[in-house]
Every structure is written in structure tokens, then in C-alpha cells.
Amino acid sequence: METVLLCCKTVGTDSVFTETMWRRSVGAAHTWFGCRSAGPKRIWGPHAVRTCSTPALPPGRITALQAVDLWRRHFEERGVTEPGHSSRYIIAHLLGAKTVESLEHGKLTEFLSQEKTEQMWRLCTRRLSRMPVQYVIEEWDFRDLTLKMRPPVFIPRPETEELVELVLRDLMKNPGTGGDSQHACLEVGCGSGAISLSLLKSLPQLKVIALDQSQAAVDLTVENALRLGLQDRLQVYHIDVMKDAETVLSLCRHVSVLVSNPPYLFSEDVVSLEPEVLRWIHGVIILSAAPRFEDHSALDGGEDGLNVIRQILTLAPHILSNHGRVYLEVDPRHPVLIRPWVEAHVEGLHYVATQHDFTGRPRFCILQKEKSHKDRELYLGLRN
């Protein structure tokens, strides 16, 4: 069994949580990029210069507003999406704010220092290569958290903020019974850690197990947890749920929540994505006309987008405590497919509801474990 466990120290059979021990030091979490400051430049610098002409640095001093305008126009000319937003988010970041709108009054009309001007040019040149703004400024907000962002780890989408909200609503309505029976949660595919960390932040009693098949994602989740001081109630594992279901089952029992924003795009749709998503979700920049996509695993859910979803639903009754729930973010075409599939294939799990996202699309599925399950042992027996 090829298990790559990030932390594993006497995983008790009756307790979900055991002592956490990070196998990798935090420093190691940085290694993906090699030398971090040199990394980005090394990856796209030379190509960016060749393929996207960068406007020359201004000879004299310019104000923040002038820089924003100049770059907005340049982005526009070069067909970079969201030219205005890109340019404004970058300057806001350089001036120490989240958005231009939250900047101190008058800041935009002040002259930029030479250093800030150069930084603006450097970051905007990256954006010119269609690198998403979130990777350019290396951070983004998810609900009330600011998270570190780094390719090729998936950038959290605003729809997922609502997924967290759905879980919170239920857990707040039904806090664990008694002092020590805390709720436990499993997240499959944690990416940057957005969902898990957000839940931990909002629920001081909650404990979370997060897993991802990508080492870069595991590292980033750990890094974000440490930055936010939320590491004590979190365990992060490098596991592929498709290949290593047994390990998942041995780690997680009786959790009350199984939450996931798994890869759910239909394979045929993956090729027609915007360059920002296409190139950067996979962390692979397209340098030649012939696209090379190496790692689709953050969004490609297979032919019908359900590969990982089916696996999660199959495992769910064996992982959840009685009345425990599954919360999934899915493609709008999925809820009508998932319901009959679960009814036909997964015993002990019943479909509770489909919820819509803020744009009105059927985006979330909630399912519940119906009765206590006897066939956990059966399942394990069959697999062995």
C-alpha cells in the first residue's frame, strides 16, 4: 500500500483525533517553488518578455492613479480579462490594502516611490502573462480569512464561501451534545485550506481532518493554518481518495461532516476554459502553441464530472456518524444526476437537499447518513 501520510502517529480506532505531527517542517512547504522569490521569474519571466511587451518604466514620477490607468489600458490592449480590476487589485496590494475602495482617501493621487513603481511593473508584467491576480499578489480572501495563494493550488471561488455557510448553519443549529462530544469534520481535496480553515475559525470547538492528493495543496493548507494559528485542531494528509480509500477509512470514523469541493468539471469542458483557469489551475504555463496540460486534477472530474464525487459518496456512510451529513459543491448539471445515483448505489445515505448559489445555480448537494452502518467491516473485508 503506497500511503503517503503527512502525519500519522498512533491513529486510534475509536477516536478520530490523535496527536498531530507534521512530517514536513513548515520550511519544507516552500520547496515546491524552489527559491520563492526567484521562482516566478524563472518560470515565466523570459517568456513574458518575449510574448507580452511590457510598457517601459515611466521616466519621471507618476501617481498611483496614473499607474493604474496606464496598466488598465495596456491590459485591455493585450486582451487580459478584467483589466481594471487587475490593475486596481495590484496597486491596492502594493499600498497595503485589499481593495482600492478601502484605501485611505487621497492615497491614489500621491506619487509612487521608485520602489513601488518598479513593484507595480513587475507584478503587472506577471498579470500580462495571464497569471491570475490571486497568484500575482500571492494572496486572496475567503470569507473573513486572508489566505496565501500559490500555483498550482486551486484558487478558492466565491461560490465555495456559501458551501462553508451551509455547513456552519447546520453545525450552529445543532452543536455537539455535551462538553466533550465535539463535532469532527473531514474535507476531501482541501487545496489552499479555504473550507477547513474557515470552519475552524468560525467554530472554536470543531476538529478537522483535511486531505488532498496534491503535495503542493497539503503544504499550502499547512502553511495557511500556521499563519492563522489554526493548526491545533487540524490534521492534514496527503492522500488520494480514489487510490487509497482504506487509509481514509482508517483515519476517519464517526465524523459529523464530510465536506468537499471536489474536481467537478466535465473533461470535455476543461479544454475550453479561460487561459487564467486553464494555464494556472494546473500550474503549467503554455509556452508553445501546442498546449501541454499536465495536472488537471484540481478541476477535471472525468467524463461526467462525477469521478471523485461518486467515490466520496460511496465512502460517506462508512465515515459519517449517524445523521452525519455530506456537503458537496458540484456542477449545476450534477444534482439531478447525483440523487438517483445515490438512491441506486449507496445504501444508508439519503439525499436531503439541493441548494443554489448566489447566481441562482443549483450548486450544492446535502446528503445524510440514515442509520448506523453495519457494513463498514463488510466493506473492509471485501477490499482485503
Partner: protein, 187 residues
Amino acid sequence: MLIQSAAKTLYFGSLLRKMSRVFSMISYMNSVSNWVIWRGSPRMSPLLNPLPAGLTYILAAGKKDLMDLPVLNEDDLEEQFVRGTGPGGQATNKTSNCVVLRHIPTGIVVKCHQTRSVDINRKRARDIMREKLDVAYKGELSEVIIKKKESVLRKQEKRRKANENLERKKQFKEVLAADLNPEKDTA
């Protein structure tokens, strides 16, 4: 391209239904290109739905010194996002997180792009809306206005005191200078 057109047909129905309700907003948003109106009354996630009164009360109370602000009814709201026409979710990576909220009965419009989180912007927009409604309903008697006035007064008072202090220091220096100068001159 494929995804976009598919999504358009898929959601066109719901768009049309809402169109009539949001018509009046379009003129307001004229200056902003790329606005897409998705829903007439998008439900804020149930946690924030003001209807379970106790909960919103706590949210509002924590922030606004126990102000007795009106409770919002999500059915009275329409909301706009700049999310483009794409399929949303994992397939889209948009950074525009501005939220525009309109209270249909009063026509009050609130815009929020203070943070990079759509969720937080939606919550803040609702907080601001409640304050605006309070002012609209109660006028000068609104706690929002009273608190604001108090804070303006406090600031004026502070400034006055600071100015007085400054003045006193200046006078003190002048006196000091007058005392010292003759000595200097003779030195």
C-alpha cells in the same frame, strides 16, 4: 465559448423572469459595463437571512453598539454581481467582487466592494442597508444619525481642545522667547 453559450441558455429563463423587476436598476448601473443581473431576490445564505431575528440581531448588535436597526427581509432585496456570463464555480476565475444591493420597497441602493470576498461584501452591504433603512424610516430620530452626530460633536470637541492646547503652547513659547531674547541680544 461552448460553455458560455450553454450556460446562457441554461440560465436565460431565470434571467428573463427577473428582468422586469430589475429593469430600474439598469439605468443606475449604466456606467459600469459587464454587470450581469442574476437574481431578483438572491437568498443570502440562511445563516444570514434576517428572518430568524435572534441571529441577525446578534450580528448587528456586536457591531453597532446594540442599535435597534430594522430587520431585512430577503424577499425585498435584489442583488447584482459582476460575475460575467460564464458557468461560474470551478470553471471561472473572476476577481470582481463588488455587490450592489437594492431594497425594492424604498429603492435604496447600497454598493459594497470593501473586501475581496463576495460573501463578506454581501454581509457588509446588508449591514449598511439596515442603517440606511433606519435613517429612511426614522429620519433625525434614527440612532444611526444620533450616533453620527454624537461622533461629529466628539470630534469637534477634540479638535477644539487640541487647538486650545496648541494655542496655549504657542503663547507659552512666545513668552519664553520674549524672556530669553533680551539675554541673547546682550550676549
